[in-house]
């Protein structure tokens, strides 16, 4: 890699102190990586934003969100919003309604059948069960 940099920046290699050169070599890979990323995602602005969820929002013209919100959308901050998988709550409700329809048998009308008119409540959401199995570390 250092050879490549010599070819690109011969002027910097000569006449500078070794430490400065090493620092520049450390920076150049980062800039090259930045150029790679921008080539892949041309709509990327000044602030980071690259997950599928964010790309959708960018295309819809929503303003770029900050880095912490990027972390949150990636589930990195630990609080997973239900909007993570869906564009908005309408999208989410429709998807949940479809899921409900698939699960129930199609033998005539059912009062519990969610058709899309029904607004799901938290009770309708699948309950996440805690792990009842003992950790394999204790096995």
């Amino acid at each position: 890699m250092s050879q490549k940099q010599d070819e690109e920046n011969p002027a910097e290699e000569t006449g500078e102190e070794k430490q400065d050169t090493q620092e520049k070599e450390g920076i150049l890979p980062e800039r090259a990586e930045e150029a790679k990323l921008k080539a892949k995602y041309p709509s990327l602005g000044q602030k980071p934003g690259g997950s599928d969820f964010l790309m959708k929002r960018l295309q819809k013209g929503v303003s770029l969100i900050s880095y912490p919100l990027l972390l949150e959308s990636k589930g990195i901050l630990g609080m997973k919003s239900i909007e993570q998988k869906y564009f908005d709550s309408g999208d989410y409700n429709m998807a949940k309604a479809k899921m409900k329809n698939k699960q129930l048998p199609s033998t005539g009308p059912d009062k519990n059948l969610v058709t899309g008119d029904h607004i799901p409540t938290p009770q309708d959401l699948p309950q996440r069960k805690s792990s009842l199995v003992t950790s394999k570390l204790a096995g």
């Binding site: 890699m1 250092s2 620092e23 450390g26 920076i27 890979p29 980062e30 800039r31 090259a32 990586e33 930045e34 790679k36 990323l37 921008k38 892949k40 990327l44 980071p48 690259g50 303003s63 969100i65 900050s66 880095y67 912490p68 919100l69 972390l71 990636k74 990195i76 901050l77 630990g78 609080m79 997973k80 919003s81 239900i82 909007e83 938290p122 959401l125 996440r128 069960k129 805690s130 792990s131 199995v133 003992t134 950790s135 394999k136 570390l137 204790a138 096995g139």
Partner: protein, 374 residues
């Protein structure tokens, strides 16, 4: 640069490995924290499934000490369960973020375990080893939430109490700064007493600068005089009396700088690596990818890269130092950057407070290594 060992020429040997062998890892089994208690006799792990497992070191056989006592299961329990916050439409994970042991006062052991929302205090009685839990009341000490969440530009990434001065704590941010606060100054410590930040050359700034400067862990030295921070590529040691720059910087895996684009795309750039001190504060340790972990000796300035792998499975087998080839010709026994497995990451490590025994967590296994006993 690798010496025979990290720190006083220690030769690290495999001791034990806990966990399943199979590669098919359930999310609940992912280890999220590892912590020795103050004597080192107990070792606790937390996982994404909200479970805690505590291991206890066997008392040494005084006559035949080929090695120090093994760690065996002492207790295990379900600490946290998943919650759904209906008001905010948020799912709160049961993942254990941290475990902290309380100094032992009597026969019972106390530990704190926390997820994103709740800190729990557990009392484990010696008699029946059944843990009793208590929820602690939530007290906000630092709140940097802006009025409009869209304006949020900085988050708290880690926090730690000073080991000796109980009213002092530090918290780190996603922008690479560390703030030292004194709770005696005010109940809400939104004003810091000290701000630690290394100046950055603006001409060196890139798209990735903020992300890789985000501090993933902060740990005080046992002496209380220094603190260590971990960001994506390095470990820095700060003297609490000097705020404008760290006193020591160690590169963990500088070769990743030329891979930042891919690491951003696969989210690895957001991995939160932790770091730890040895008992005498002379050596620091942190994890990396490919199940490698690194140690830096602050006195000799030597460093070593080791691997947690079931291939080195025989007890008392000395671990062979590893080397990553960043560029150019790869020597025999070296591994090239492109061959590294980025799914195998060591985020959590712990060092016994008194002895050279370390606990290293891969995704779902816990490795225990110790120095060679002659």
């Amino acid at each position: 640069m690798a010496g025979a060992g990290g720190g006083n020429d220690i030769q690290w040997c495999f001791s034990q490995v806990k966990g399943a062998v199979d590669d098919d890892v359930a999310e609940a089994d992912i280890i999220s924290t590892v912590e020795f208690n103050h004597s080192g006799e107990l070792l606790a792990t937390g996982d994404k499934g909200g479970r805690v497992v505590i291991f206890q070191q066997e008392q040494e056989n005084k006559i035949q000490s080929h090695s120090r006592g093994e760690y065996n299961v002492y207790s295990t329990f379900q600490s946290h369960e998943p919650e759904f916050d209906y008001l905010k439409s948020l799912e709160i994970e049961e993942k254990i973020n941290k475990i902290r042991w309380l100094p032992q006062k009597n026969a019972a052991q106390f530990l704190l375990s926390t997820n994103d929302k709740t800190i729990k205090l557990w009392k484990i009685s010696e008699r029946d080893k059944r843990p009793e839990g208590y929820n602690l009341k939530e007290e906000d000490i630092v709140d940097i939430k802006p009025a409009n969440m869209e304006e949020l530009t900085e988050v708290i990434t880690a926090a730690e109490f000073h080991p000796n001065s109980c009213n002092t704590f530090v918290y780190s941010s996603s922008k690479g700064t560390i703030r030292l606060c004194d709770m005696r100054a005010s109940a809400l410590c939104d004003r810091h007493s000290k701000l630690f930040e290394e100046p950055e050359d603006p001409s060196n700034r890139s798209f990735f600068s903020e992300i890789i400067s985000s501090i993933s862990d902060v740990k005080f030295s046992h002496s209380g005089r220094y603190m260590m921070t971990r960001d994506y590529l390095s470990v820095k040691i700060w003297d609490l009396n000097m705020e404008n720059r760290p006193v020591e910087t160690y590169q963990v895996h500088e070769y990743l700088r030329s891979k930042l684009c891919s690491l951003y795309e696969n989210d690895c750039i957001f991995d939160k690596f932790e770091c730890c001190w040895n008992g005498s504060d002379s050596v620091v340790m942190t994890g990396s990818y490919n199940n490698f972990f690194r140690m830096f000796d602050r006195n000799t300035k030597r460093d070593i890269t080791l691997e947690a792998s079931r291939e080195n499975n025989k007890p008392r087998t000395v671990l062979k130092p590893r080397k990553v080839c960043a560029s150019g010709k790869r020597k025999k026994d070296e591994i090239s950057v492109d061959s590294l497995d980025f799914n195998k990451k060591i985020l959590h490590t712990a060092w016994h407070p008194k002895e050279n025994i370390i606990a290293v967590a891969t995704t779902n296994n816990l490795y225990i290594f110790q120095d060679k006993v002659n």
